[in-house]
Structures are given as C-alpha cells and as structure tokens.
C-alpha cells in the first residue's frame, strides 16, 4: 500500500504559517507545492510594522 503514497504536499496559503510548513516539508524530503492567491508570499505579517513583545521589525 505504501507504494501508492505520493511524497508531495500541497500547502494552501503563503502566509507565515504556510511558508514555514512548506520549508519544513521541503527540507525534510517532500516535494512541496505552495499555493498563494496573491502575487507574492508573506501574508499579513509582511504588513505589520513591529512585532510584540520584542518590537522587532516584522519584515
């Protein structure tokens, strides 16, 4: 049955969560399709100025 398994994963959404899922999977030996409806990845986090509680730049 294992022969039927496909070693690829579709990740829907290119926000911080989708991007990091994709990276972990790709770095673990899976082929990843990262699907994002907008023209670039990054999601809402890229719109934020700073992040709490360290006040680091979100970008």
């Amino acid at each position: 049955m294992n022969n039927k398994l496909t070693g690829s994963v579709v990740v829907i959404g290119g926000g911080i969560s989708g991007m990091l899922s994709a990276l972990d999977l790709a770095n673990s030996g899976y082929y990843v399709y990262l699907v994002e409806k907008g023209p670039s990845i990054g999601g809402v986090m890229a719109q934020l100025d700073k992040t709490f509680p360290t006040n680091d730049c979100a970008m």
């Binding site: 294992n2 398994l5 496909t6 070693g7 690829s8 994963v9 579709v10 990740v11 829907i12 959404g13 926000g15 911080i16 969560s17 989708g18 991007m19 990091l20 899922s21 994709a22 990276l23 972990d24 999977l25 790709a26 770095n27 673990s28 030996g29 899976y30 082929y31 399709y33 907008g38 023209p39 670039s40 990845i41 990054g42 999601g43 809402v44 986090m45 890229a46 719109q47 934020l48 100025d49 700073k50 992040t51 709490f52 509680p53 360290t54 006040n55 680091d56 970008m59």
Partner: protein, 927 residues
C-alpha cells in the same frame, strides 16, 4: 506578466497610468495597475490587476509592454487550470481583519480620524503611506486633489491624544456574531501605543479601552506592565458606547462609564479600532469544498490531541484558521502541520525530491589571480546615480582584473548564465560583484560560482547600492568615486582569497527526548514514525507527566483516555526506547554528535545521539497564601481535577464553591501569566454547575483570559450563573477560617461594596512554575529567562528550537501551555529536528571559520575563555598537544578569538589579516 522574464526593475510601474487601492497599505494609498505587493516581495515579480489595466479593460495604453526591458509583459495570459498530485494537504488560508464599517456606533466610515488597527499598523510603518509619521486624517492622500479633501488636510495635525478600543469584532454577539476572543488584539494595541509614542515623542497621550487585558503569552505580562509603568500608557477598563465628531475640528468625543460607575466625557484626536480576526466567507466556502468541519465561529475543528489535523483524512491545518493566534503560535502550527502531513507520508519521503548535481571543483591553488568583476546597474537603482560604465572601465584597469562587465541586473537568470560562460571562457578564478547586499544575494552568486566549477569562497561582493547610490543620490560624482573605491578594495581582497573547505558533519541520527510528558511523547512518536531511533528519558517511574493530574481539556475531551492511549503507542513503538527512573548526568559534544551519561537507580550508561529535544515541563506552585494547607476545603485546581477524575460524589452536595485566580501569577516575583488557569477554573466551575445547578459558584479574578474560542466557555459559565468578581493585585481577597467556616472577603467591583462569601470549597488557581533546571541548561548551553523558562532561538520565528544547533524545545518548560499547545509544540520540535536529520549526509560546517597557526600559539588560553560557542580547546593529544585548536562545527566565524589572540596565531579564513589590510591599503591608494 511572464514571471520567468520579469527582473523586478519597476520601469513599468513608473509609467503606468492605472490606479487602484493599495491593499498592502490597508487601502490608505493607491498603487499602479502594474505592481509588486511591497518592495521586499518574494517573488519580486510585477503583476497586473486586470480590472484596472487600461490595456486589458479598454485596449488602450500598452506603455508597460513598450517600456519593459526584459520583454516580460504578455497581455494574452489566461487563467489556467493545473492539477497537482499530492499525498497531503496543509490548509493555512489565514484570516481577514474584521471590517468595522458595519458598526454605526464607532462611525468608522464617516469619521476621518477613526481608523482600524491594520490601518494604524501601516501608518506606523516607515514604508507606509505617511512613512511612519502619525498624523490625523490618515485616510486622505498626503496631497489630495479634491477641493473638499484639501480643506480637510489643512486641519491635519500631529495627534496629541489617541485611544484604542479593544474587542471590535471580538467577544461580541450583539453587533456581530464573533463570540470568540481574537487572542492578539490586546498585545498589538499595547505595541501600537508604545510605537506611536516612540514616533511622536514623549507627550503623546495613549489610552487603551478594554474589557479584560489579555496578555497570557511568553514575556507578554512584562510588556503590559512596562507599557503602564515605563511608557505611561493608560489602560481604562470600559467599553465605549459611541463616538461623536466635532464638525469643525474633526476631533472625536467619547462618553464612557469608568470603573466606579462615573460618566466621563473625553476628546481624542484619533481612535484606533482594535479589530479582531475573522475567517472570510471565501475561506469557509473553500473549507466546505475540501470537506473539512468548522466550529460555529468558522475556525477549523480539531481535537486537542491532534491539534493540526482536520476532520478529513490527509488534510492538516495551521495558523489563524486553526484558531485565532499570534505569530509564534502560527509558526508552531506550521511546523506541527508539516510534521503531521509528513508523518502520514513517511514511506514516500525522498521519492519526489531531487538531489543537486555536483559539479567538480577546479583547483586554482597557486594560480595567478584572474579576477572577473561584474558591475550591476540594478535597473536605475545604481545606474540612476552612479556612472556604472565608468566604474566598469575603471575596474578593467585594476591589478589582476582579467575581465569586467556591466549588467542591468547581475542577479537575473540571464546574467547568471553569462557569468558562468565568462568564467569558463576566460578562465577566471576569482569573482567580484559590485551590486546590492551580500545578505540577500551572496548565496545566489556563490551558487553561480559553484555551477562554474569554482570554490564558492573565491567570491567577493561589494555593496554599491545600499551603501552608496541610495545614500548619496544627491551627489552622483562622489557616489561614482565611492563605487570605484569600493570595487578597488574588493578586488584587492579577492586577489588574496583562497578556496575554503567545508568540513562534513557526521550526524548520528539517534534522537534523545528528555521528558516523557505530552510534549516529549509527541515529539518522540513523530520522529520514531519517520524511522529514527528515539530514546525517551523520564525521571519518574512512568510516562505521562503532569497530564496524569488533568481531568478534561478545554474542549471537553477526557485527558486520561487519550493519555493512556499515547503511552501505549509509545511503549509499543519499535523505534522508541523508554528509560524511566532515569536522569541525565553529563552531556558532551555538539550537533550530530552528542554523548551523554544517564543514570538509573542502580546503573549508569552512555548514549550517543545526534539530536536532543528538551521537554522537561513545569509544575504547579504549592501556594503559601489564602490559608492553603490549613483546611481540607481549601485546595488547588489540580486537587479539584483529582476529585472530578475520582467521581467524588461530594462535589454535587456543595452549596458554595469559590475559585481564586492568579495565585502566584502576575505578581512582582513571578511577573508572568500562567495562561491555562482562567480556562481551567471556568471549565471546572461549569462542571460544578452541571453536578449541582443550585450551587453558588464564584470566580474571583483579575482579568479573565479565556483567549480564542475558550471565550465560549466563559460565556457559558456566565449563562449558567457562575458569578465573576474582579479584584486587583493591591486588594487581594482575604481568606479566614472562622468558627469552622471558610470565609472569603473582598470588594465587589460592580457594587463597589465589601462582600463576604462562605465557601464549602475554595479552589486556588495556582501558578505554573518552571523547573529552572540550570544543570540541564548548562549541559546543552541553552539559556533560561529570568523566571526559569527556556529561551527559544527566536521569540517569533524559532519557538521550538534553541540557538544551539541540534537542540529543540517543547512543552511547558518553554512556557505554561494547555494540552493542545503542548502537543503542537511537541510536533513542531519534531518537525524542526527532522529537517536537520534529513541532512544527514549533507551537513557541512561553514568555510569561514577560525584556524590556529600552532607554531605561533603560546597556549595562553584567551581564545578558549573568550569564545561564546566553546569552539577553541587545548589539544589533548598528538604533536601539538597543549596548543589551541578550533572545533569547526562549533565555530561561527565571529572573529572574537582572532582579535584577542596576543600571538597573532589565529586566522579567520576568508577574512584573513592580509585580506583586511589589503582592503584598507587599497582604500588609501590615490587613484
């Protein structure tokens, strides 16, 4: 747009006449029809909005096609359907900020100075519409064209008073259907207020109107206290009913009821609505198509024990769609979903990925340097200021330069291919690129060198954009001169560069997990399912940890049933060796090569492993206040769980039960929120009410922190008649044992009257305290914070790993957390560890590391003492015993030892002394 051709130069957008709202800037400004999301967007490729493009809507214009130097514009592109074959799906569609225009009381659409927190985020940003300058009328353009807007903009000022209204679109079933708490707004409002004050200077008056201040995350409580004490941000516990506007000044008047019941009128220059997180209609529809079950609030339904697994087999979820959450928790979800999706496909791992083809390296040692210099125009970014042709010509005149060329975009695929050709054709053996920053582009150029058969350290990059054309754009002549100086320096250094070797790190793929609680067991199970031998170390006599003491999860699942099942799975897993009654006595080594001594009651044994996961957990505080220990009716939350678990019939017979929150939490000696206790007490109060609806149940609290959908439990408890009475830290409830009674006295916040409650049962919601295991922390060289919790690699982006390579963290040892979050982090740690284990045969040290010239080493030991990574040691054997040697795996190439070596014996490869001096001398040369 052909994304393979677009080089992201932006020439198209400079001329594009189409305009539409810039969503990235929360629609506060307009962007052209051909656009990139934001300057740092990945991929940096332009896109056309077909709804506003004049060519696509009216078949006019076509300017971008004419201008584009890369011929990337293609107006004929059509929507395509693509079918993908995949073993798993991870669904992380995110959220949409709540739209407050449907609320008439805050007049968001009508009042110019009422903005959403998302808009305010952009206003604060240096790349936002006002470049970080907080001003009133932010929704109008900086220089408006309409007459009416021009008049308004004349009234624009720097605000003196800003208010934040919390829970807009959250915890609200009157005006919208979002009963849940959005989990992030309290913290982001505090942050925005702090940053606004920073931007505006000290005298900006910031007030946050809130119901409960919810700062239950790691380091959040201190942030909140700092905001109050150090930054002077005002926190007002009140829900403002409505806002009116002064017709003349456009200032905003509000009326609210303060905590004492007084009516207060106040005026603000700006109001920020702290909007909640919502799942969009589109996402709900897509979830419907995928066939996954949602909660009534629209979030994905998951169990506490499989927190990233949707109701449909093979579909995993992460991020806000899985429940409202902040960035680090989204990151943990992401890692965990990757782990869950991957574990299901472990048999097919490495079947579809391709290995990179290795190109044999040309030996250039001893050859005369033949340097190739590439000058990048970066479109107009550099060329617009610097005379790039002149710099290229100048480069050709420098010593050892064999070839120099100018490229419009040195980073484009086209330019990279050419570079490979030139290297081969002209036998170049050193490459200099004068372009942007090596931080983003060095790896790309190094890869090109590798592809051409050159060692990647024969590369030197100099930044003539960020450090030159951008900062000297008003002085092109000087900028050109500086570019020449920078190129001359880079060439001087490159001439002395040598090929460097990256040492292979052997990875022992055995894993050691320390701590057999929920988080540790979850991490072990995941790594074992990926085929790795895992040793699970538990100091007690059985697995399960603190979870043995819990009755139910916040979602009502029975903890013991699931726990027993997980323990059975662990104990029967062939890849997991469980070591109970075992403690860790010593740790030696580094990533991929750890060695430990472990001790049981009667023996000690050694274990070799490559990866360690620290899941040592936390424990409940034993209270020293509220007469605890003096009366059997005064118990802790875990004691109450025990009674529930044992089906204590006496609980139904109680007439009155009281819970006191924050026992030991959120106080000066323990300045953090224990995160789980509010939900725990609310849930247990509901359980008591279920057993006896007539029972009087009181919860004495400071802020109820039922974040996310836990808020629904709080609502349910109130509906069942549980009475919530608030107290503050300075006026804690007083517990007295008098005439055989347990009496609790405090001031009722609603009545503003002292009240006394007699309790048949008093439950103290005790703090969760860390084990503060300094010995373990020292073993792995990982830090503890002031309270004794482990400090992760990065507060936002590395929440399940340590800065020490090969060591990972999960569970309450990191910060107190409920069952589902402990399991998520356990999976997340496994996922991060797996990425390292997967590199087993491809893990290399960096080439730029320190090395010792043993003939010069005087054995003084300064390097050994000064290195923060413990890389230098005294050799213990061989011809040079007693001399310093550098462990290539541990060395981070920081250069501290090089600078401090009094004998000049240490060299930093790639940044050797002669290279640095040659650069300095080159700078001083008269051109």
């Amino acid at each position: 747009m052909d994304v393979n051709l677009c080089v992201g130069c932006g020439a198209c957008a400079e001329k594009c006449p189409g305009k539409f709202d810039d969503g990235y800037n929360a629609n506060l400004k307009q962007r052209t029809a051909i656009y990139v999301e934001y300057p740092q967007a990945v991929p940096l490729k332009y896109a056309i909005n077909p709804k506003v493009c004049l060519k696509l809507t009216k078949d006019k214009c076509g300017l971008c096609e004419e201008i584009c130097p890369a011929k990337a514009i293609d107006y004929t592109q059509k929507e395509e359907r693509i079918t993908l074959d995949a073993g798993s799906i991870i669904f992380s569609p995110g959220f949409k900020p709540f739209d407050p225009s449907r609320f008439d009381n805050y007049q968001y659409t009508n009042f110019a100075n009422v903005v959403t927190s998302m808009e305010f985020e952009r206003i604060l940003s240096a790349t936002g519409p006002t470049m970080g300058h907080v001003v009133t009328f932010p929704k109008l353009p900086l220089n408006p064209k309409k007459k009416q807007d021009k008049l308004l903009v004349e009234k624009r000022k720097d605000p003196k008073k800003i208010a934040w209204f919390q829970c807009v679109g959250s915890r609200d079933i009157n005006k919208c259907d979002n009963a849940y708490c959005s989990s992030v707004c309290c913290m982001y409002a505090v942050k925005e207020a702090m940053i606004a004050k920073e931007h505006a200077g000290g005298d900006l008056d910031c007030s946050i109107f809130f119901m409960d201040m919810r700062t239950p995350g790691k380091e959040f409580e201190k942030y909140y206290e700092n905001a109050k004490e150090k930054h002077g941000i005002k926190f007002i516990r009140s829900r403002v009913h409505s806002v009116t506007e002064d017709a003349e000044t456009h200032d905003l008047n509000i009326r609210y009821v303060d905590e004492k019941g007084g009516i207060i009128d106040d005026t603000f220059d700006m109001i920020v609505l702290s909007v909640g997180l919502e799942i969009s209609k589109e996402t709900r529809e897509l979830a419907g198509k995928l066939g996954i079950e949602l909660t009534p609030s629209g979030f994905c339904k998951t169990s506490s024990f499989e927190p990233v697994t949707s109701s449909r087999d093979g579909i995993y979820v992460s991020g806000v769609f899985n429940s409202p959450k902040d960035i680090p928790e989204s990151v943990l979800d992401a890692n965990a979903a990757a782990s869950a999706a991957g574990d299901a496909l472990s048999a097919a791992r490495n079947t579809l990925t391709k290995a990179v083809e290795k190109i044999p390296e040309i030996n250039v040692v001893g050859d005369r340097p033949k340097i190739g210099v590439f000058i990048c125009d970066c479109g107009s970014n550099i060329k617009g200021v610097v005379d790039c042709a002149g710099v290229t010509e100048y480069a050709r005149s420098l010593p050892y330069v064999e070839f120099a060329d100018e490229a419009m975009y040195a980073c484009s695929q086209d330019a990279q291919n050419k570079m490979v050709e030139y290297i081969k054709e002209k036998n170049l053996n050193r490459i200099v690129v004068a372009a942007c920053t090596p931080k983003t582009h060095e790896p790309l150029f190094q890869e090109t060198l590798t592809n051409a058969g050159l060692n990647k350290y024969l590369f030197e990059m100099t930044n003539i954009r960020n450090h030159n054309s951008w900062v000297h754009k008003n002085n092109p002549d000087i900028a050109t001169q500086k570019a020449k100086d920078l190129v001359r320096m880079a060439v001087a250094k490159a001439a002395l560069s040598e090929p460097l070797k990256e040492e292979k790190i052997n990875v022992n793929d055995t894993v050691m997990v320390i701590g057999g609680g929920l988080a540790g067991m979850t991490a072990a199970k995941s790594l074992a399912s990926q085929g790795y031998k895992t040793h699970l170390i538990e100091k007690k006599d059985k697995l399960g940890g603190e979870a043995h003491k819990l009755y139910k999860t916040a979602q009502g699942e029975d903890v013991q049933t699931h726990l027993d099942q997980l323990i059975r799975e662990i104990e029967t897993n062939e890849n997991i060796t469980v070591h109970c009654n075992t403690t860790l006595e010593a740790v030696d080594g580094f990533v991929g090569n750890f060695k430990s001594t472990l001790k049981t009651k009667d023996t000690a044994f050694e274990l070799d492993y490559g990866i360690a996961v620290l899941a040592t957990g936390a424990k409940a505080l034993v209270p020293v206040e509220y007469e605890y220990g003096k009366d059997p009716r005064i118990i802790t939350s875990l004691d109450l769980d025990k009674r529930f678990k044992e089906k204590d019939a006496g609980l139904a017979k109680l007439n009155s039960a009281v819970f006191i929150q924050c026992v030991g939490s959120r106080q000066p000696d323990r300045p953090y929120c224990s995160r789980v206790c509010c939900t725990h007490s609310v849930d247990n109060a509901i359980e008591l009410k279920k057993r006896n609806p007539e029972m009087d149940v009181f919860i004495l609290y400071r802020d109820i922190r039922t974040y996310g959908e836990r808020e629904l439990l709080y609502k349910k408890a109130r509906e069942l008649g549980v009475i919530f009475i608030r107290y503050d830290r300075e006026h804690k409830p007083e517990v007295k044992l008098l005439n055989g009674k347990v009496l609790i006295a405090l001031n009722d916040h609603v009545l503003n009257q002292p009240v006394e409650i007699e309790a048949d049962l008093l439950t103290l919601a005790t703090a969760i305290i860390p084990r503060r295991d300094e010995r373990l922390a020292n073993f792995f060289k990982v830090p503890l914070n002031d309270e004794g919790f482990f400090v992760e690699k990065h507060a936002k982006l590395g929440p399940a790993e340590f800065a020490t390579s090969g060591v990972f963290v999960c569970g309450s040892g990191h910060y107190p957390k409920p069952v589902n979050e402990a399991i998520t982090q356990g999976r997340a740690a496994a996922s991060r560890a797996l990425t390292l284990l997967a590199k087993k045969d491809n893990l290399f040290t960096s080439g730029t590391i320190a090395s010792v010239d043993v003939m010069k080493c005087s054995q003084c030991g300064v390097c050994v003492a000064i290195c923060p990574y413990s890389a230098p040691r005294f050799a213990t054997e061989g011809r040079f015993a007693g001399k310093a040697e550098i462990n290539a795996v541990l060395c981070k190439g920081c250069g501290l030892c090089v600078a401090s070596c009094r004998s000049g014996a240490i060299h930093l490869r790639g940044f050797d002394t002669n290279q640095i001096f040659s650069q300095i001398f080159a700078l001083g040369e008269v051109v």
